[in-house]
């Protein structure tokens, strides 16, 4: 390729990879902690999971603001129209889930009577009161949204692999710092 790669700026990259890292920590932790018998370890894991989740929420809001105020680097012209449409829908859904999942977790915690105190320091308001039925419903919502996230992240990664190995274009490089790619 002769044309230089147009990359996301450092802020966007840092936010993307940090959120990716946190999602890959919070998701398995959430699945694992759920079935543990009650113990101090379980209570700690729940707190860590909630702290990571709220951190993701804050970073996701920041990402939405970044995305609204910036134009992302253009996609290679060779990409077919349908792929562009699907990628926009997927990215929109990913942004939506990065906001909705922590929010559903926060509400679920409130409904179940466990306030969220970010890093044990900053108490978040309980937006709903303690309500067992609502808590159970929000648990289902939180799990359902996570299943969607799991599938969409899978698609997101499959698309990267497809672009790298089949299309051999430089989609991935747009999100990698200069030193990390040729």
């Amino acid at each position: 390729m002769n044309t230089p790669i147009q990359r996301y700026n450092n802020t966007a990259m840092a936010l993307h990879w940090l959120v990716a890292l946190l999602v890959f920590a919070a998701f398995p932790l959430g699945v694992y902690m759920h079935d543990l018998p009650l113990s101090p370890t379980k209570l700690q894991y729940y707190s860590y999971h909630k702290w990571i989740g709220i951190t993701i929420l804050v970073l996701a809001v920041t990402r939405v603001v970044w995305r609204i105020t910036h134009t992302p680097p253009p996609l290679p012209e060779a990409i077919p129209r349908w792929e562009v449409v699907v990628s926009h829908i997927t990215h929109l859904a990913l942004y939506g889930l990065l906001l909705a999942i922590p929010l559903s977790g926060w509400l679920m915690s409130s409904a179940k009577g466990f306030q969220t105190v970010w890093f044990g320091l900053l108490p978040l308001p309980d937006l709903v009161g303690k309500d067992k039925a609502l808590g159970d419903l929000l648990t289902t919502v939180h799990q359902g949204l996570n299943l969607m996230l799991f599938l969409l992240v899978g698609m997101h990664i499959a698309a990267v692999i497809k672009h790298k190995l089949i299309d051999r274009d430089q989609i991935l490089e747009r999100m990698l710092p200069k030193g990390m790619s040729k």
């Binding site: 009650l38 101090p40 209570l43 700690q44 707190s47 009577g113 466990f114 306030q115 044990g120 320091l121």
Partner: protein, 190 residues
């Protein structure tokens, strides 16, 4: 002094002394509450004891005779989550099978001024008895008195939460116990 006024004044004085000579001793359990608060991972949690029995006799004019006794049915605990309720009934916490109730028996009441008082007594949980001091306020109308107070215990003093739960970094050692007792008056016997 005019004899008529004297009669009025003395009967007023008599009436007021009658009005004060009441003892509050009929605990209205359905209007009373025993609750507690504790911190878990830095988060304040509230709990209640749904079932308890209480006896009290309290006359602000005769504090030396004041008495109170509360017996709490530990199986009626609500820690805020059903998982938690099952857990605290277990051996490491209350061991509710062996020690089904916790009890407070007063040993004395002291006036602190105004409507503030202090009850001293013995608190027995899980077979261990320790002295506690519970400050409270007392407000009354002629027929009804309300006690509101709280005190803090350290759960490890009573071995509440043994083994892995002895770590106070997750569930804090301090447990605040709050009581709100509604007690109806019965006229004092002469």
């Amino acid at each position: 002094m005019n004899p008529f006024i004297r009669i009025v004044l003395s009967s007023l004085a008599l009436m007021s002394s009658v009005a004060f000579a009441v003892e509050f001793k009929q605990v209205q359990t359905n209007e009373s509450t025993v609750t507690f608060a504790y911190k878990q991972m830095g988060v304040t949690m509230d709990g209640t004891f749904a079932k308890f029995a209480a006896q009290a006799s309290f006359d602000p004019a005769k504090l030396a005779k004041a008495q109170a006794r509360i017996d709490i049915d530990l199986a009626s605990i609500d820690t805020g989550s059903s998982d938690g309720n099952d857990e605290v009934a277990g051996k490491q916490w209350f061991n509710a099978k062996a020690y089904p109730s916790a009890g407070f028996i007063s040993t004395g009441v002291k006036a602190l001024g105004g409507n503030r008082y202090e009850a001293r007594g013995k608190l027995t949980i899980k077979g261990k008895t320790l002295d506690v001091i519970a400050p409270f306020t007392f407000q009354s109308t002629a027929a009804r008195g309300v006690f509101d107070g709280s005190f803090t215990i350290r759960r490890l003093d009573y071995n509440i939460g043994e083994g892995v739960w002895a770590d106070v970094g997750t569930v804090a050692d301090e447990i605040q116990i709050k009581f709100h007792l509604v007690v109806n008056a019965s006229p004092a016997k002469k």
